[in-house]
């Protein structure tokens, strides 16, 4: 070992759901998402781990894989790093292979494959608690002897066995890699694994009885889909019901801040920027934090408990009709919170065409950023009337969600027959044992989402609202000009130019002006309308008048409906496009996505406008 160079690197490897991420968290204390869905670890996760001698090693949580023959981008990364063929990541100095003790046979096959690489390696025999519970006894000493590798029993979620693991990792680092042996045929590995597993397992009980009982209901052909539908219903219900109170607090807090700022700052451009630009714009976004956190809390619990893979099972057939597979369900569900984590979650989809299609339709899932727009528009234009059991406003909101989903399905069908043509790779996945979600991991996961969201609010959204404020305020019209300041401003001029494009589908000047800033983030469109309308009037009373009332009096109904439909399909925010570029390695697909969504939104909004105008008059 050379002490002058960077710290040695240890890679965590193993089959999906072996407990790599849990072990990584336990070893490093790093903040990272833990989930049950195979392939949830899609990003490179590095942390520092202290060894018993006080030195530190760098530890990397590699994506789970079943073998060194990659089937997905995820697995490709793992293979490349382990083979020392990854462009950026150096080859690990040692490997910790995480093995699920309740599923020894299959996990040992991978251990045997890895062992042939010749790199120093320790086996972490994880989930030993579950093996105990099932009545399975594993002779660790004999396992170690047969494998020719150190074996350390661990329980990642209870932090058991970590010290021993550190000790073994330390001794591994003094060992040199030997040249890799010849690759073996998978059958030979399977048979060797089976032989070893049988030899070291002295007592095997009926495994996973609880999981079996739950699955009898959760995967029941009739009850299964009913339960899934009920869960989704409760989830969306909770997103609205539970978030109401915290959202009201945030709104009140922002209003108070605006008042303080207005009182404390001298009249002038700076005060206008802070109150009308920053506080109004960023506040309008931060208000959605409660909804996003609630939605993610549900998704994390579903993932950690193991239910998510069951949902994928139940959805697979429906997905197959539009040329996708059940795995697409998880990314698409995440996209209801935000398309960005959704698109990143597609990395676990093996087939490139399946994956591309899922990426391209993910923005059609109604992300939480669209909610503010829906909420304002519905409050302004849809009567708060009871229809049977349901409320008309609620029905319209539900309708908009369904509209997005149906649009996505149709888009998938078309994409699968055109740009993403090709036979699907099918659907095959492991369904892990059910687990109680671990509160600590849940909180870490939520914290990460919250931080990402707030960073966005503080970064791109803050920047764009300030920019919009500036565009809407400058240049100031000369004294005596009969043009209103907003018309004279840059925003007004851009709006006028865009109006040529948008007026055929019923959009007015104000909507046209929001088009550019809305690219920063969808929720900006409400803030933008707020800015535009409050800047458009000097009348104090009109300023007090809420945006809802303003819109109601200023927009004809067909325009409002067309705008709502536009928001369902419209090209997504720049951050989404940036993620698509990263995930597809180029500009081709983000440009394609922008174009197809723009065309779709334009046509649908236009149809809505003309049809509703013909009907309403």
């Amino acid at each position: 070992m050379n002490a002058v160079t960077a710290a040695p690197m240890v890679a965590l490897v193993g089959n999906p759901n072996a407990g790599k991420t849990s072990l990584f968290n336990a070893l490093t204390g790093a903040r990272q998402k833990v989930g049950n869905y195979p392939g949830v670890t899609v990003e490179r996760k590095v942390g520092a781990m202290q060894l018993p001698d006080g030195s530190h090693v760098e530890i990397v949580d590699l994506p789970g894989t079943y073998s060194l023959s990659p089937h997905s981008p995820d697995e490709q990364v793992t293979r490349d790093v382990l083979m020392g063929e990854h462009g950026i990541e150096r080859a690990p100095d040692a490997i910790i292979c995480v093995v699920d003790a309740t599923n020894l046979r299959n996990h040992l096959r991978f251990v045997l494959e890895l062992a042939r690489l010749g790199r120093p390696m320790v086996v972490a025999l994880n989930m030993i608690d579950l093996a105990d519970r099932d009545g399975t006894k594993i002779d660790t000493a004999q396992l170690s002897q047969r494998l020719g590798l150190p074996v350390v029993p661990t329980v990642a979620v209870r932090r058991r066995g970590l010290a021993d693991l550190g000790q073994e990792a330390l001794s591994m680092l003094t060992r040199e890699a030997v040249p890799p042996g010849p690759g073996a045929d998978i059958r030979a590995l399977q048979h060797e694994a089976l032989r070893i597993a049988q030899a070291v397992t002295t007592l095997s009980g009926g495994a996973g009885a609880a999981t079996r009982r739950i699955d009898n209901i959760a995967l029941h052909p009739v009850f299964g889909p009913v339960i899934l539908a009920a869960l989704l219903f409760i989830m969306f219900q909770a997103v609205f019901a539970w978030a109401e109170a915290p959202m009201a607090w945030i709104e009140a807090g922002i209003a108070a801040l605006q008042e303080i700022a207005a009182g404390a700052l001298p009249e002038g451009w700076f005060r206008s920027m802070i109150v009308d630009g920053v506080l109004a714009g960023v506040g309008g976004v931060v208000v959605f934090l409660p909804q996003i956190l609630i939605l993610f809390a549900f998704i994390l619990v579903l993932e950690q408990s193991g239910y998510m893979t069951r949902a994928a099972f139940l959805m697979d057939r429906l997905m197959a009709y539009v040329g996708l597979n059940g795995r697409a369900f998880i990314p698409l569900l995440s996209s209801f919170a935000c398309a960005i984590p959704g698109i990143m979650a597609t990395r676990s989809i093996d087939d490139p065409k399946d994956r591309l299609t899922t990426i391209l339709i993910a923005p059609l899932m109604t992300c939480s950023a669209r909610l503010p727009v829906y909420a304002v528009m519905i409050a302004a234009f849809i009567p708060d009337r009871q229809i049977g059991f349901a409320n008309l406003q609620g029905l319209v909101l539900l309708g908009l969600y369904v509209f997005g989903i149906v649009g996505a399905m149709v888009a998938a069908l078309v994409l699968r027959r055109t740009v993403a043509r090709g036979a699907g790779s099918g659907f095959m996945m492991e369904m892990p044992k059910y687990q109680w979600p671990i509160l600590r991991d849940l909180i870490i996961g939520l914290w990460q989402r919250g931080v990402v969201f707030m960073k966005r609010a503080g970064g791109i959204i803050l920047a764009s609202t300030v920019l919009l404020w500036a565009f809407a305020s400058y240049p100031v019209p000369p004294e005596g000009s009969d043009e209103s300041p907003i018309e004279y401003s840059i925003a007004g001029r851009i709006g006028s130019a865009l109006e040529v494009v948008f007026s055929p589908i019923g959009f007015n000047h104000e909507i046209s002006m929001t088009m550019l800033p809305t690219l920063a983030a969808r929720e900006v469109s409400v803030a933008a309308l707020g800015t535009i309308y409050s800047l458009q009037t000097d009348d104090e009373d009109a300023l007090q008048e809420s945006l809802v009332d303003r819109l109601r009096s200023a927009w004809p109904l067909p325009t409002a409906l067309a705008f709502l439909v536009w928001v369902v399909f419209a090209p997504q925010c720049i951050s989404t496009l940036a993620v698509v570029k990263r995930e597809t390695n180029g500009w081709k697909w983000p440009i394609f996505m922008f174009t197809y969504l723009f065309a779709l939104a334009y046509v649908m909004a236009g149809l809505t406008y003309w049809i509703s105008r013909a009907l309403i008059g």
Binding site: S69, R105, R187, G208, D316, R317, G426, F427, M428, M431
Partner: protein, 88 residues
């Protein structure tokens, strides 16, 4: 026989995995998921529409897959008694 011809709850053992030609990649995946000649499987669940996908117990694991992939696997039903005798 084919896996889809099993009754729900019925066990069988894998006789053969077809892995020629275009099936090679899918067959490799099946092996990685734990399918192997001689392994005992059990048909646990079927999807509502067309009985697809299906969930199988493979050793200690539960695997979901589509009918098309399951057709690469040939199984035979061996009554527990016969199996035990064979093991004697």
């Amino acid at each position: 026989m084919r896996i889809e011809d099993l009754k729900t709850g019925q066990s069988a053992s894998v006789v053969k995995i077809r892995e020629t030609g275009t099936h090679a990649a899918e067959a490799l995946r099946l092996r990685e998921m734990g399918f192997d000649e001689g392994i005992e499987i059990e048909l646990l669940h079927r999807g509502l529409i067309g009985g697809c996908p299906i969930a199988l117990r493979v050793g200690n694991n539960v695997i979901a897959l589509r009918k098309a992939a399951s057709r690469l696997i040939e199984v035979s039903v061996t009554p527990a008694g016969v199996q035990a005798e064979a093991a004697e």
